[in-house]
Amino acid sequence: MQSLFFTADCGFEAHKKCSEKVPNDCLPDIKFVKNLFGADLTTVVKARNTPIPVVVEKCIKEIEHRGLEVEGLYRIAGLHDEVESIRMAFDKDGENTVISESKYDDINSITSVLKLYFRLLPIPLITFEAYRIIIDTMKQDEPRSRTQIIKIKEGLSKLPPAHYQTLRFLLAHLNRVTEQKATNMMGSDNLAIVFAPTLMRCPEPDPMMSLMNAQFEQKALETMLVKFRDLFSRMSTTQNFEANAKRPSFDALRISDQTPHFDKV
C-alpha cells in the first residue's frame, strides 16, 4: 500500500496532502537520498557533504588516471552493460564504488557514465535560468566579444553553488582533454558538440526548438571552454558566488583555478 506520508530529503514527514506546504529548504539526510543518478545535484552534494557529486569526481579522476589520449574520448559510447553496471554500483556503493581498469577496462564506459549522470539530472547542470541568458547572448552578440563574456558570466552567476563548482571542475577537465587533441581528436569545438546536449536542456518542450538551439548550445560550451579563465577566475566571480552560497561549507571548496592535475595513484 502506498504511504500516506511524504518524507522530505531531511526525513521530515508530513501527510501527502499537506506536503506542498512544506518548505523545501531542509538539510538533506543521506538515508533519504538513495540514488545518485537522477537525484537533484544540490541535494546529493548537501547530503553527502562533498563539494561536487561523487560520480563526477570519481569518473573524472579515473579518466585522467587512465590518460586522455584515446581517439574520440567522450564521443564514442561505452559498452551498454558496463555503463548500466557502473551506474547501479554508484547508486549502491556511493563513494566506495570501484571503477578501476581491472573491473571496467573500456574507458568509454566511464565517459558514458559521466555523460549519463548529467543527462539524468532533474535540473540540468546549466540550469534553465542560466540557459536562457547564455543562449540569448549566443544568438544576439558577437562571438567571444566582451559583451558576450559578460553575459555568460551573468548567466553562470545564477547557478546554484554546487552546480557552479561542478561545472568549473568539469570544464577544467575538458580543457585538459582538448590539450590532447592531436591524439584524441577532441578539440573544444568537437567536445562541445558531444557534451553540450548533456549539460543544457532547452526549456521549450518543442523538439524542433530543441534542435534549432543545439548549435547555440554547442557554441556556448565551446566559448566556455576557450574562455574558461576569463569566465571562472575567482577574482571576478567571487562576489556573485558568495552571494549565492547559502552554506559556509561551500566556501571551503578547493578546486583550484590552475587546472589541477590529479595525483596519479
Partner: protein, 201 residues
C-alpha cells in the same frame, strides 16, 4: 517530368561514420577532421537510375543520446533507414539491434532497412566479422553491406542497392499508384502532432 522523392535516414552510435558515408556519396570526398554532427543535418541528391530518376533526401542524425527521442519522428516518414556500425567497435554493432527494433516498431515492414558495417579500411582492428554482420542482417531480415567511407569502398553500391529496392522499381513490387509516392514536407523534419515523449532535450 515527375521525380519520386524518398527520405533516407541514417542511424547508429556516435563516431561510426554516418556523416562520412554521406560526404563520400555526395562529394566523393573524406574529411579527416573527425567532427561530430550537431543535431540533425539534411541534404538532397538526385540519383539517375537505369529506368528513372529519383531524389533522395538524406537525413543525418547526431548519435548523441539526447536526440534519441526525436528518432521516431524521423523514422515515421522515411522510406529507408540506414543503420550503421563500426566494424572495429563491437558495442556499436550490438546497438544496431536496438536501432533496427526502433525502426520496426515505428514502421513495421513498410520500410527498407540496410545494415552497414563501416570502416573496412581498418581491417587490423576489426572486431566484427563480415559473417557476423551477414548473420544479424539475415536474422532481422534487413539488407547488409560493408563499406569504407574513407577508402570510398562500396559507398555508391550501398545507395544504389537501397534505391533499387525502393517502391516503384520494376524488379521489386508492382506499382501501386499513389502508394509509391512518399509525400514530404519541404519545411521541417517534424510534424507538429509528433508530441509523445515530451521535451526531447
Amino acid at each position: 517530368n515527375h521525380i519520386d522523392k524518398f527520405k533516407l535516414s541514417l542511424f547508429g552510435e556516435m563516431g561510426v561514420g554516418k556523416t562520412s558515408l554521406i560526404t563520400r556519396f555526395m562529394y566523393d570526398s573524406f574529411d579527416n577532421t573527425y567532427q561530430a554532427t550537431i543535431g540533425i543535418d539534411f541534404l538532397s541528391k538526385t540519383m539517375y537510375l537505369e529506368d528513372r530518376t529519383i531524389r533522395l533526401q538524406l537525413w543525418d542524425t547526431a548519435g548523441q543520446e539526447r536526440f534519441r527521442s526525436l528518432i521516431p519522428s524521423y523514422i515515421r516518414d522515411s522510406s529507408v533507414a540506414v543503420v550503421v556500425y563500426d566494424i572495429t567497435n563491437a558495442n556499436s554493432f550490438q546497438q544496431t539491434s536496438k536501432w533496427i527494433d526502433d525502426v520496426r516498431t515505428e514502421r513495421g515492414s513498410d520500410v527498407i532497412i540496410m545494415l552497414v558495417g563501416n570502416k573496412t579500411d581498418l581491417s587490423d582492428k576489426r572486431q566484427i566479422t563480415t559473417e557476423e554482420g551477414e548473420r544479424k542482417a539475415k536474422e532481422l531480415s534487413v539488407m547488409f553491406i560493408e563499406t569504407s567511407a574513407k577508402a570510398g569502398y562500396n559507398v555508391k553500391q550501398l545507395f544504389r542497392r537501397v534505391a533499387a529496392a525502393l517502391p516503384g522499381m520494376e524488379q521489386t513490387e508492382p506499382k501501386k499508384g499513389e502508394m509509391t509516392e512518399v509525400k514530404l514536407k519541404d519545411t521541417g523534419p517534424i510534424e507538429p502532432e509528433h508530441k509523445e515523449g515530451g521535451c526531447s532535450c
